[in-house]
Symmetry: C2
Subunit: 191 residues, 2 copies
């Protein structure tokens, strides 16, 4: 039951069988088909989601109506809008399914209860955010002052598997360039 989530928890903390069961009991599985939305702009996010299987991505829509991919979510990752979840303010993100998914969801109340009652759960969350923060800062650092071509090359090195599962125009959006520019870069790099 929920092997992905268990593996993820055990990677970072040790849990007694009782704690393990207590944590799992709060999650609700949810199946989603390609093109469905997990969340939409304006929603107040009620549940955070762990990706057990499949792939999703989140994007925002800017003042000019253009869409921008903010992050991807594959097996073993968390996806959603933590800003809206924690503040209970309307989300500015859409989260759409890329490949049919099974996600495990958890309410804010459950999350807070687990934080209070199961110390290793809080430790897990601290490590999760700590790593996510460091990774995000690297993403910013790496893109500062790089040409689109350099950003692409690094992205290709760091996440080769993404190219087999995500259409190029979404990767372009994530990188902050247009699909047209990405296409030209790829031709150049290939030669």
């Amino acid at each position: 039951m929920y092997p992905g989530l268990l593996h993820e928890l055990h990677k970072r903390v040790t849990l007694s069988p009782g704690q393990e069961a207590a944590i799992l009991s709060h999650f609700t599985p949810k199946k989603l088909k390609k093109r469905q939305f997990l969340h939409q702009e304006g929603d107040i996010i009620q549940r955070m989601s762990f990706v057990e299987k499949g792939a999703l991505y989140s994007y925002s829509t800017d003042a000019h109506g253009a869409q921008h991919v903010v992050q991807f979510g594959f097996e073993g990752w968390w996806i959603g809008d933590l800003y809206s979840f924690f503040t209970q303010k309307p989300s500015r993100l859409n989260v759409e399914v890329l490949e049919s998914c099974e996600v495990l969801t958890l309410s804010l109340e459950s999350h807070e209860l687990l934080l209070k009652t199961i110390p290793p759960y809080e430790t897990y969350m601290r490590i999760l955010y700590q790593n996510a923060y460091v990774a995000l800062l690297s993403r910013i650092e790496n893109s500062l002052g790089l040409s689109a071509e350099e950003i692409y090359s690094r992205f290709l090195e760091q996440y080769p598997f993404i190219f087999s599962r995500v259409p190029l125009h979404l990767i372009a959006s994530y990188m902050g360039i247009t699909p047209v520019t990405l296409s030209r870069i790829r031709r150049q790099v290939a030669s």
Copy 2:
């Protein structure tokens, strides 16, 4: 003693007098003058730092030798390179003093000890990283697909106080544009 750090801790968790004293006892104060370095590229970061007073900023040097500001640190903020601190790998960042500082530093061993022995300390750290992560994701979201002028306007709204304490060319670097471009934008926006 250390009013900034105490205020920061109490904002997020409640501590018994004993816990408070235990936490504070692990910090070592350090005074730094303008233009001094707290860390330099290549260092393996041994201590994390809380800014009690003053201002600093961190920057990286890219493959073309250009410098890019990654973050600022004012009173009540943490500053440093968490990547190097947690992994004990060489840092890619320089952290330089903008206004003479008093920082409070904490070793990795102390940090780990406090996490293990003082539960509210772990809670504080989880909340700190959680907020930092959400704030950083907003920074990325905001910069995706915005013109330099829009990035400037938002920055001005969100952090007006930074303009009174940080030279414009560092702000430009943080925003990912040249000082020349920032100057032109400001002329436009002012008119």
